[in-house]
């Protein structure tokens, strides 16, 4: 059986400041080495100052992943020399002497399957190394400490995944959850990184490091399984090793470094006192937490009678569920959900499109009302929607400008219907034996009116004329 376990590093990009100082957590817009201070570059005499917000957000993640959360948490030093590490140790968490990291064991449901969470810990991100030069001889390494000290949450799973598909589904759930909690923007470059452990039946555990995005994580796991299976089928032994994900070639490469031999000499970070996270704090955090994706989904189903599939699609995406939350009323909820899932999601399917979209929840309300009151048809609604996204104008203007209003004038509509009846004599004949054929005729009327015929009136008139 194939076993896959993940170690996911997720930056808390939505926080104002770094984990131990007041430099910006969002370091991406800065020139190299300008988002730094005495603390995050570890100048002599500087001391870490714990960002309480980071502890809160990390605890929220732990609670959302159904992890145990200890009464008191502690920080430890992980000691090793590396140029991206200003103090040559990383402040992180450890559970060797009892559970002292923000999250202990937990479980996440992926479809019908349960994926175990081993632990969740809060730690500081190192700086970034940039290599320049073409050959080994003239290569130079540049260090940018802007990232050093950014709050990072590490989520370690049990080796419970059996295939890349489960990995992908889990990552989708995780991204949605992080976005819903407003702690992180997974789409930012470098905000999500991962290591994966992969082993196939009869093989040894192989660790893949340095995977820079969720997208690549699935690919890397897939590659690694294929590689191991091909070795196995040729009866070549699979050795226990660390491999690196080559981002450009999309393959894993054996790393020569002896990282696994490092002894990190963990010990308690004396500069940061233990943090108590008692029940009253947890209760307060819970009350501040946004509704979970799962509970949202169930509310949509039970309260508004929205079909399960629609509710699922709607609840997992924060952008759309926020639009829904702001636009819906008791009477239009189903219609709004429909507009979002059948039309809007196709129209704004990328991050850029969302950013440029001029549509707001008021527009959705207007459109739902117009559909429900027979002012415009669904087809017209979609046309209006795409115009609103571009211009942000209000619906009534767009109906006028694009002439999208329903043809609900009986005389006008009768003319169209009569011409359809004369053109489609064969279908008219069939309606006598097969009443369903009438829908075909309605469609024809729609075609002739470019989708603007009031569907209910059309049906009534057709029935009368036949």
């Amino acid at each position: 059986m194939t076993k896959i376990g993940l170690e996911i590093h997720c930056q808390l990009t939505k926080l104002e400041s770094k984990l131990f100082c007041s430099c910006k957590a969002n370091y991406r817009e800065f020139e190299p080495n300008t988002n730094i201070c005495s603390i995050c570059i570890g100048l002599p005499g500087s001391l870490p100052r714990l960002n309480q917000k980071a502890v809160e957000k990390a605890t929220m993640i732990a609670m959302e992943l159904n992890c145990s959360t200890p009464e008191k948490i502690a920080f430890f030093r992980k000691n090793y020399f590396y140029p991206d590490l200003p103090k040559n140790f990383q402040i992180t968490q450890l559970n060797v002497y009892g559970d002292t990291s923000v999250g202990g064991k937990g479980v996440v449901k992926v479809g019908e399957k349960k994926i175990g969470i081993t632990r969740i810990q809060l730690e500081e991100d190192p700086g970034r190394l940039i290599y320049e030069g073409t050959s080994e001889k003239n290569q130079i390494t540049l260090v940018d400490y802007n990232r050093a000290g950014t709050p990072l949450v590490e989520i370690v799973t049990e080796p419970d995944f059996e295939n890349p598909k489960e990995v992908r589904e889990f990552l989708n759930i995780l991204s949605n959850l992080l976005e819903n909690l407003e702690v992180s923007d997974p789409s930012l470059e470098g905000a999500m990184r991962a290591d994966a452990n992969v082993s196939i039946e009869g093989g040894k555990k192989v660790e893949i490091k340095n995977i820079g995005s969720f997208h690549d994580l699935e690919k890397a796991v897939h590659f690694e399984i294929t590689r191991q299976q091909s070795l196995h089928s040729r009866e070549i032994p699979i050795i226990q090793e660390t491999r690196h994900w080559d981002d450009k070639r999309k393959i894993t490469i054996s790393s020569r470094s002896k990282e696994e031999d490092l002894d990190y000499r963990y010990f308690l970070e004396g500069d940061i006192p233990w943090v108590r996270i008692g029940n009253e704090v947890k209760g307060k955090l819970k009350s501040e937490m946004p509704e979970s994706v799962n509970s949202k989904k169930h509310r949509y189903i039970s309260k508004y009678n929205i079909p399960t599939q629609v509710a699922e699609v709607l609840s997992t995406d924060k952008y759309f569920s926020d639009l829904f939350e702001n636009a819906h009323t008791k009477d239009n909820a189903k219609e709004i959900a429909n507009i979002i899932t059948t039309d809007l999601m196709g129209l704004v399917d990328t991050k850029e499109k969302r950013e440029f979209s001029k549509l707001n929840s008021m527009h959705l309300k207007e459109i739902a009302y117009a559909i429900q009151s027979g002012k415009i048809s669904r087809i017209s609604a979609k046309n209006a929607l795409s115009e609103i996204i571009k211009t942000g104008k209000n619906l009534s203007d767009i109906i006028n400008e694009l002439d999208l209003g329903n043809v609900s004038d009986e005389i006008e509509l009768s003319k169209v219907i009569e011409s359809v009846i004369s053109e489609e004599s064969k279908a008219v004949e069939q309606t006598k034996t097969n009443p369903q054929t009438i829908n075909y005729l309605v469609g024809k009327v729609m075609q002739k009116t470019k989708g603007k015929a009031d569907p209910k009136l059309t049906l009534d008139l057709l029935k009368k004329k036949l």
Binding site: G45, P48, F81, N88, D263
Partner: protein
């Protein structure tokens, strides 16, 4: 001009116009020029000190608001950051490190118009108890310049006892304030862990060390504490002392107080003159109305071993940042791969620091932690339990500060274990976070002996009251230099 006055006397005299800050500072700088060629307390001097004093005199004259120090000359151990000045830790590794910010204690003293006359000597990165491990040469004991002044805050103690300043700030990881205070006959005080911000103190063993004042009198130590103690948002380990006034009621006396005599600190290896001084101090306390009784803290036996294990571990980590990449000394990186570069760059550490870094790589390492580091932590927590138990019965504990007299320069430098053992009486307060003070008590063959008092956490005020009472019973000779 009499330079031999206490801090409180100085502030009173300047405030009342009896003396001018400028004159006092000029005379102090002159004194430093005269004696420091021999004593070598200072690593660098503040060339603007006299100008700064003149500004303070001007403020006094114009009846502007002046801080409580009134231009008092203070020396600062060279492991505490003073903005725009060299902060070397007496190491070649930081030979050219100019601190870009002030330590919290420095900010507070600046606000109170203290004048920093210079940065003073220490054992490299505060590791040692004689200043012989300073990369810039040892300081000399002003009572006898052939002897060590103690350490690691040796420069602080020398500068105070030889009247090169009125007060000094040192740091105490295992006795580094109290040991030189005892050897040089000054007051040396290590407060409760967390009472004074460590922000800007260059870490050696951060979980147990504190900044502490070295002064001429106990009152001066209380005065300094008033100025620098308290919660600091730059140091998460600081505690709120509700702006306690440590000078107020300092003369309350110790009548009825129970004092425990720590058996393990007056046993084997103690110098007879130190023992008799301690016994004398105990009888004085009794005459002042205290009730003294022996107590055994058997974990003290293991305290030095635990102390060196824990401090080496933390030192190994705290000093890892000195890879010469972001600051340090001139040594170009071209042509080196990272690991080979830092191995070479870190050769600038002196022998004692190197020894402790190596030890610090070993004792907490996988496979050895159980035998050394984790065991040391166990001793630390057992010792803490024991001393807490003792404080249920006693208000204070007493011992000699150092079991031996100051020794000759060079006498013990090649015997690190013998040096380690001298810390036996001081490390307990650090390992348990308790406040402790050393006060000058007597002399033997022209060399000073100090007595140590220890109190329970946050009982710093009581500790200072007791030390004040004992100090009043002491009469000591004039320093020969």
């Amino acid at each position: 001009m009499n330079l031999k006055i206490s801090a409180l006397q100085f502030t009173k005299d300047v405030k009342s116009g009896n003396i001018s800050a400028e004159e006092f500072i000029s005379k102090t700088m002159e004194r430093i020029q005269n004696v420091d060629t021999i004593l070598h307390a200072f690593l660098s001097l503040n060339n603007n000190a006299v100008d700064q004093a003149r500004e303070i005199d001007k403020k006094i004259k114009n009846r502007e608001k002046v801080g409580q120090c009134f231009g008092m000359p203070v020396s600062i151990k060279d492991n505490i950051c003073v903005k725009d000045t060299k902060t070397t830790c007496a190491s070649k590794m930081l030979e050219n490190f100019i601190a870009p910010y002030d330590a919290t204690v420095i900010t507070k003293l600046k606000q109170q118009d203290a004048i920093f006359v210079g940065k003073v000597n220490l054992d490299e990165f505060a590791m040692g108890l004689s200043t012989e491990f300073s990369a810039y040469g040892p300081s000399k004991n002003p009572w006898n310049t052939g002897y060590v002044p103690g350490g690691s805050s040796g420069g602080s103690a020398v500068s105070v006892s030889a009247f090169e300043c009125v007060a000094s700030l040192g740091s105490d990881t295992g006795g580094s304030v109290r040991n030189p205070a005892s050897f040089c006959s000054t007051v040396g005080y290590k407060p409760t862990y967390g009472l004074i911000s460590r922000y800007g103190l260059i870490s050696y063993a951060n979980s147990i060390e504190q900044i502490g004042p070295l002064t001429r009198t106990v009152e001066d130590a209380a005065f300094m504490l008033n100025l620098i103690a308290g919660l600091d948002h730059n140091d998460d380990t600081t505690i709120n002392n509700n702006n306690e006034d440590y000078l107020k009621d300092i003369d309350s006396g110790i009548e009825g107080k129970k004092v425990g005599i720590i058996k393990e600190m007056i046993g084997e290896g103690i110098d007879p003159s130190v023992l008799s001084a301690t016994k004398d101090a105990i009888s004085k306390l009794e005459r002042l109305g205290a009730i003294c009784e022996e107590i055994s803290l058997d974990m003290v036996k293991y305290s030095v071993a635990a102390y060196y294990t824990i401090t080496a571990t933390e030192a190994g980590s705290n000093l890892a940042r000195y890879d010469n990449l972001r600051y340090g000394y001139d040594f170009p990186v071209e042509g080196y791969e990272f690991n080979s570069y830092i191995v070479k760059a870190r050769k600038k550490f002196g022998p004692e620091v190197t020894r402790r870094i190596i030890l610090g790589g070993f004792v907490p390492s996988a496979g050895h932690a159980g035998k050394y580091f984790l065991k040391a932590l166990k001793v630390k927590s057992k010792l803490t339990r024991q001393i807490n138990e003792a404080f249920k019965k006693f208000d204070l504990l007493i011992s000699p500060t150092v079991p031996i007299l100051p020794f000759k320069i060079g006498e013990k430098i090649n015997d690190p274990v013998a040096l380690f053992l001298i810390d036996i009486n001081t490390v307990t307060a650090n390992l348990t976070g308790k406040p402790a003070i050393s006060i000058p008590y007597s002399m033997s063959n022209g060399l000073p002996i100090g007595i140590q008092l220890i109190a329970n956490s946050m009982n710093d005020k009581l500790l200072l009251q007791a030390a004040y009472a004992l100090e009043k019973t002491v009469k000591l000779p004039e320093i020969p230099i």
